[in-house]
C-alpha cells in the first residue's frame, strides 16, 4: 500500500471533492473541507504507529521512475525528521480550516486552496528526489499567494507579491543548484542527470563546488526560514495573511526552510557545512536577538508574533549548525514546538480579530476581565512560546542551547538572552492587552465558544504532553539526526563532540537535561 502517495494525494482529492460541491449548497463547504482534511491526519498517525524505531532510517519507501534518461523519480520515504513534519502539517491544517469559520467570501475557493497547499507541503517533506522536492517546494507559493492576496487584510497585494518574490528568488538559486548537482550525479550513474538524493549522496563533489552549491541551496532555505537578513518578507506576509494563512505560514511553511537545511545542505555538502556553520549560526543568533528586539516594540499584536517567529527560527538554525547531536535533536523538536505554540498564538489573535477587527495593542486592555477563558489560553500559549519549563518550547530551546554550547559557547550564551527577551515581549504584550482597566472598545465581547476552545485543545494538550514527556519524539528524531552527523564525520575531519560523561555515569544525555530543567 503506497501510504505516502496516498497521504499526498488525499488533500488533492479533498480539494477536488470540495470544488465539485454544488453551488446551491454553500453550507456544505465548511464541514466537507474539515472532514477531508482530517483524512491525511489519520494516515500520518497510522505512519507514526507503524514507524519502527529500530529498523532502517527511511521507511515506507516508494519509487516510481518518471524519466530514466533525466534520472527523475517519484521517490518518497519517511525518517524521524519528516515523520514529525508530516504529523505537524496534517495536524495544523484541520485546525486552520476549522478556524476559518469566519471566512464568508468565496469560501469554496478558499478551502480548495488550503487543501492544495496541504498536499504540496506534504510533498515537500516526503520527496527524496530533488526535482520532485523542488516542484512541491515551489508550487506551495501559488495557493499561499492567492490566500494572502484574496483574503488578506489591507496591504495584502503588497505582502503577497513580496512573499512570492522573496521565496521565488531563493528557489531560482535552488533550482540552479539542483540542476548542477543533478548533472554531476548523472555522471556517476551514467545518465544525463540524476536527481535521486541517494545517488547525490554518493557523488563526489569538490570543495569549491560544495561551497557554491551550499550557498545556492542555503539561500533558498534561508529565505524560507527566514534567516536574518532575509526575513523582511515575513512580518508583512504573516500580518496581512488571513488567520489560517498565518498559522500555516508560521507553523508549517517556515519549517520547509529548516527541513531543507537539515535534509539537503548538511548531508549533500558536508565540507561546506562544517566550513560555513559558524557563519550561519551567527546569522541565527542575530535573528534571535533582532527578532526578539523587534517584537518588543511592535504596536501590532500580530506583527509582534510574526517577529517572535524570526527569533524562534533563529534558534532552530543555531541548533542545526552547531553540529552536535543534542542541538540537532533540539532543532527538530523546536520545529514541532514552534509550529504548535506560534500556531496557537496566531489562532488566538485571529479569534480576537474576528470580534474587534483591530490588531493594535493600544486598542485593547483589561481583556482578562471580559474574556477570562481566552486570557487563560493566551497566557498558556505565551508561556509555551517563551519556553517555560514543562512546556514544549522549553525542551526544544534548552536542548539547542546546551547542544550548541559544546561547539559554539559564546553564541549559545548570547542566544540564551533570546529566551529572556521572549518572556519580555510576550508578557509585556499580555500585560497591555489583558490587564489594567477595561478598554471601552473590548467591553462586552463574547468569550471563546465551544468550537474555538475545541480548536485550541489539541494544541494545548500536545504542548503539555511534549513538554513533560518528549521521549517518544526524541527517540525517533535521534537516529535521523545522528545519521546526518555520522555522514559529516565520515566525509570530513570534523568530530562531533558529545556528552561522554553523561554516558559514563549511566544517564542518557537527553533525559539528564530534562530532569534538570523540570527540577
Amino acid at each position: 500500500m503506497p501510504y505516502l502517495t496516498l497521504l499526498i494525494a488525499l488533500p488533492f482529492i479533498g480539494a477536488a471533492v470540495v470544488a465539485l460541491l454544488p453551488r446551491s449548497r454553500p453550507e456544505t463547504v465548511f464541514p466537507v473541507a474539515l472532514g477531508v482534511s482530517v483524512a491525511p491526519l489519520a494516515v500520518s498517525i497510522y505512519l507514526l504507529a507503524e514507524y519502527q524505531i529500530d529498523e532502517s532510517l527511511f521507511q515506507f519507501f516508494e519509487y516510481f521512475v518518471i524519466s530514466e534518461r533525466f534520472g527523475v523519480a517519484w521517490e518518497l520515504a519517511v525518517d524521524g525528521i519528516s515523520l514529525f513534519m508530516i504529523l505537524l502539517t496534517t495536524l495544523l491544517f484541520p485546525i486552520a480550516i476549522a478556524a476559518s469559520r469566519s471566512v464568508s467570501d468565496r469560501l469554496k475557493t478558499y478551502m480548495v486552496l488550503m487543501l492544495i497547499l496541504e498536499g504540496a507541503v506534504l510533498g515537500v517533506f516526503l520527496a527524496l528526489d530533488l526535482i520532485v522536492f523542488f516542484a512541491f517546494f515551489e508550487i506551495v507559493l501559488i495557493p499561499m499567494y492567492l490566500l494572502i492576496s484574496m483574503w488578506g487584510s489591507d496591504r495584502r497585494a503588497y505582502a503577497a507579491l513580496k512573499f512570492v518574490l522573496f521565496t521565488a528568488v531563493g528557489s531560482a538559486f535552488l533550482l540552479v543548484g539542483i540542476i548542477v548537482l543533478g548533472v554531476m550525479a548523472g555522471d556517476t550513474v551514467g545518465t544525463l542527470s540524476s536527481f535521486d538524493w541517494r545517488v547525490m549522496l554518493g557523488t563526489d563533489i569538490s570543495d569549491t563546488a560544495q561551497l557554491w552549491l551550499f550557498i545556492a541551496f542555503g539561500l533558498a532555505f534561508a529565505i524560507k526560514v527566514p534567516l536574518f537578513p532575509f526575513h523582511t518578507w515575513l512580518p508583512d506576509a504573516h500580518t496581512e495573511a488571513p488567520t489560517a494563512g498565518s498559522v500555516i505560514l508560521a507553523g508549517v511553511l517556515l519549517k520547509m526552510g529548516t527541513y531543507g537545511l537539515l535534509r539537503f545542505n548538511l548531508t549533500l555538502f558536508p565540507d561546506a557545512s562544517v566550513d560555513l556553520a559558524p557563519i550561519l549560526a551567527v546569522l541565527g543568533v542575530i535573528g534571535i536577538i533582532y527578532g526578539a528586539a523587534a517584537a518588543i516594540v511592535q504596536p501590532d499584536i500580530k506583527r509582534l508574533v510574526a517577529y517572535s517567529s524570526v527569533s524562534h527560527m533563529g534558534f532552530i538554525v543555531l541548533g542545526t549548525f552547531a553540529l552536535t547531536s543534542q542541538a540537532l535533536q533540539g532543532s527538530v523538536f523546536q520545529m514541532i514546538s514552534h509550529g504548535l505554540t506560534t500556531g496557537a498564538l496566531f489562532l488566538l489573535i485571529g479569534m480576537i480579530y474576528d470580534r474587534t477587527h483591530t490588531r493594535a495593542i493600544a486598542d485593547y486592555g483589561g481583556l482578562a476581565k471580559v474574556m477570562p477563558v481566552y486570557a487563560g489560553i493566551f497566557l498558556f500559549s505565551a508561556f509555551a512560546s517563551a519556553g517555560l519549563p514543562a512546556l514544549s518550547g522549553f525542551v526544544g530551546e534548552f536542548t539547542i542551547l546546551v547542544g550548541s554550547y559544546l561547539t559554539l559557547p559564546v553564541l549559545s550564551i548570547i542566544a540564551g538572552a533570546g529566551v529572556i527577551l521572549a518572556a519580555v515581549y510576550l508578557l509585556w504584550a499580555y500585560e497591555r492587552v489583558f490587564t489594567g482597566p477595561v478598554n471601552p472598545k473590548v467591553e462586552g465581547l463574547r468569550d471563546l465558544g465551544f468550537r474555538e476552545i475545541a480548536i485550541m485543545v489539541p494544541l494545548v494538550v500536545l504542548i503539555i504532553g511534549l513538554g513533560i514527556y518528549p521521549k517518544p519524539a526524541m527517540d525517533r528524531i535521534q537516529p535521523a539526526v545522528e545519521s546526518i552527523l555520522d555522514r559529516i564525520e565520515a566525509t570530513t575531519d570534523y568530530e562531533v563532540p558529545d556528552f561522554g560523561r553523561f554516558d559514563d555515569i549511566g544517564h542518557d544525555a537527553e533525559s539528564g537535561h530534562q530532569e534538570g530543567g523540570e527540577g
Binding site: 534518461r69 515551489e138 508550487i139 518574490l165 540552479v176 543533478g182
Partner: protein
C-alpha cells in the same frame, strides 16, 4: 513504403485540399458557414491524423528521403524528408491548428462571408509551416516560410476596420519580408561555401563537412549568421523581436494564437534541422552566438513583459522570453531536442489557449486588450478564469504544469552542455516572469463591482481553452508519455 508513396506529403496535401475545398464550398454556399466551417476543421483533424500515420510508418518502416529528381547537381537531391521529427511536427501543428481553428470560430462568425478566406489562409499557413519542418532542402524551407508568412501577413490585417490591424499587417509584412530575404541570402551564401542546398542525402551539407575542409569560412559563417537571423526574426527572439508586440496587439486576438504558436514550432523545427542536422560539426562556432541570443531574449522579453499594460503585448514579450528558453535547447545540441519538442508541444497549446481567452474577454476581432479588462473574470466566468490561471501558471513555469517540465529539461541539457550561466539567467528570469503571469491571475480574481455581467463563452472557444488547459496540466503532472514520444523525435 510502396503502399503510401504520397504519405510524406500527406499533411500538406490534406491542408491544401482543405483550403481549396473551403473556397469552393464557400462559392457554392456563399453565406452558409455551417457547410464549409466543418470542412476546414476536418482538414486540420485529418492532417493531425496524417502526422500520426507518418509517425507510425516511421516507427515501423524507418525514415526516408523523397522526391529527388535528376538534372543539375544541386537539384538532384531530396525535397521532402519523412522522419519522426517531421511526423511529430505534423501532429503538433495539426492538433494545435485544430484548436486554434476552434478558438477563431467567434471571429469567423464576425467576419461573415470573408471567413472562408480566413479559414483557407489558416490552412495554407499551417501547410507552409510544416513544409519548413519536413524538408532537408534549404530552398524548400524558404518556400514553406514564405507560404506561412504571407498567409499570416494577410491574417494580421484581416480586421482592417479595427484600429491597429492595418499597422500590424504592414509592419509584419515589411519586417517579415526583410527577414525572409536575409534567410534566403544566407541560403545562397551557404550554397556558395558548401556547394549544396540539402542537409541530408547525396552531396549534402553534412557530407561536405565530414569530407571536406572548409575553404571559405567567412562565407560559410556569413551564410549561417544570415539564416540564423532570418529564423530568429520569425520566432521573435531578441533583438529581432521588435515587430512582435505591435503585430500581436493589432492582429485579431482569435488569430494571434496560431501565429505565435505555429511559427515557433516550425521555426524551431527548421532551426534544429539546419543547425543540429546539417551544421552540428560547426557547433562550436554557432552555439555561443545562439547562447547570447537566448540570454538577450530571456532577459529582454521578461523585463519588457513586466511593464506592459496590454495583455497581447505582454504575451508577445513573454513569447520573446520563451523563444530564449527554447534557444537554450538548441545551444545544448542534439541532447536538447527532447526538451525542445516537449517545450514546443506544450507551449503551442498554452499560447493558443491564452489568446483564445484574450479573444473571449476583449472580443475576437479586438486589437488592444488591457490587462485591466480581466478584472472580476473569476465571478463573470469562473471556468474561464480557472482555465486561464492554469495556462498562465503553465507559461510561468510553475511545477505541476507543463511549462516547468519543459524548462527543467531545457536547463538540465544546457547545463550538461556546460552553459551554466544560461541556466542561471533562465531560472532568474523565470522568477521575474512570475510577476506578470501572477498579475493576470490576481487581476482575474480581484473583486470589482463595476464589471458584473456574466461573460458568455461560445462552445467552440470554450472547448479550445479546455484542451489547452488540460494539455498544460496533464503533461505537467504526468509528463512521461509525452517524454517517451519526444525522445524518439530525432531528425534523420
Amino acid at each position: 513504403m510502396q503502399s503510401a508513396a504520397w504519405l510524406p506529403v500527406a499533411f500538406e496535401v490534406t491542408l491544401l485540399g482543405g483550403a481549396l475545398a473551403v473556397l469552393l464550398v464557400a462559392v457554392v454556399a456563399e453565406r452558409n458557414r455551417s457547410l464549409w466551417g466543418p470542412v476546414a476543421g476536418l482538414a486540420f483533424a485529418v492532417a493531425a491524423v496524417m502526422g500520426l500515420w507518418q509517425w507510425v510508418e516511421v516507427e515501423s518502416g524507418g525514415a526516408g528521403l523523397f522526391f529527388s529528381s535528376d538534372g543539375l547537381a544541386f537539384t538532384r537531391s531530396p525535397m521532402v524528408v519523412m522522419d519522426s521529427f517531421s511526423a511529430l511536427a505534423a501532429m503538433i501543428l495539426g492538433s494545435v491548428g485544430f484548436v486554434a481553428f476552434l478558438a477563431s470560430w467567434d471571429l469567423q462568425v464576425k467576419l461573415g462571408k470573408r471567413a472562408a478566406e480566413f479559414s483557407a489562409l489558416l490552412l495554407l499557413a499551417v501547410a507552409g509551416l510544416h513544409m519548413m519542418a519536413a524538408t532537408p532542402n534549404l530552398v524548400v524551407i524558404f518556400i514553406g516560410l514564405e507560404t506561412a508568412s504571407i498567409a499570416f501577413y494577410v491574417i494580421a490585417g484581416f480586421t482592417r476596420k479595427v484600429r491597429g490591424s492595418d499597422e500590424s499587417a504592414l509592419k509584419y509584412f515589411l519586417l517579415g519580408s526583410l527577414a525572409s530575404s536575409l534567410f534566403l541570402y544566407g541560403v545562397a551564401l551557404t550554397f556558395a561555401a558548401t556547394g549544396s542546398l540539402t542537409i541530408y542525402g547525396g552531396n549534402s551539407i553534412r557530407d561536405f563537412f565530414s569530407s571536406q575542409v572548409v575553404t571559405e569560412p567567412g562565407i560559410l559563417l556569413a551564410g549561417l549568421a544570415l539564416m540564423l537571423v532570418g529564423l530568429m526574426f520569425k520566432v521573435s527572439a531578441a533583438p529581432f523581436h521588435q515587430w512582435a508586440p505591435d503585430v500581436y496587439q493589432g492582429a485579431p486576438s482569435a488569430a494571434v494564437g496560431m501565429m505565435a504558436a505555429g511559427v515557433k514550432v516550425a521555426g524551431f523545427a527548421a532551426l534544429a534541422r539546419i543547425f543540429l542536422g546539417g551544421m552540428i560539426s560547426q557547433i562550436d562556432s554557432w552555439a555561443p552566438v545562439v547562447a547570447v541570443i537566448a540570454a538577450i531574449s530571456m532577459v529582454l522579453g521578461t523585463v519588457m513583459a513586466l511593464v506592459q499594460d496590454d495583455i497581447k503585448r505582454m504575451l508577445a514579450y513573454s513569447g520573446v522570453a520563451h523563444a530564449g528558453y527554447l534557444l537554450t535547447t538548441i545551444v545544448a545540441g542534439v541532447p536538447g531536442l527532447e526538451a525542445m519538442w516537449f517545450y514546443l508541444a506544450t507551449y503551442a497549446f498554452m499560447i493558443v489557449g491564452a489568446f483564445a481567452v484574450v479573444s473571449v474577454v476583449g472580443g475576437p476581432g479586438a486589437a488592444a486588450t488591457p490587462i485591466a479588462s480581466f478584472k472580476n473574470l473569476a465571478s463573470r466566468s469562473p471556468e474561464t478564469a480557472w482555465l486561464m490561471a492554469i495556462i498562465m501558471l503553465g507559461m510561468s513555469g510553475m511545477p505541476f504544469f507543463a511549462g516547468f517540465v519543459g524548462k527543467v529539461l531545457a536547463f538540465v541539457t544546457v547545463g550538461e552542455a556546460g552553459y551554466l550561466w544560461l541556466v542561471v539567467i533562465g531560472t532568474l528570469t523565470t522568477v521575474v516572469g512570475l510577476v506578470f503571469y501572477l498579475r493576470v491571475v490576481a487581476t482575474m480574481f480581484a473583486k470589482d463591482d463595476d464589471v458584473q455581467e456574466p461573460l458568455v463563452v461560445s462552445v467552440n472557444t470554450r472547448f479550445a481553452v479546455i484542451i489547452a488547459a488540460v494539455v498544460t496540466f496533464v503533461f505537467g503532472v504526468v509528463p512521461w508519455p509525452l517524454l517517451d514520444v519526444v525522445r524518439s523525435a530525432l531528425p534523420l
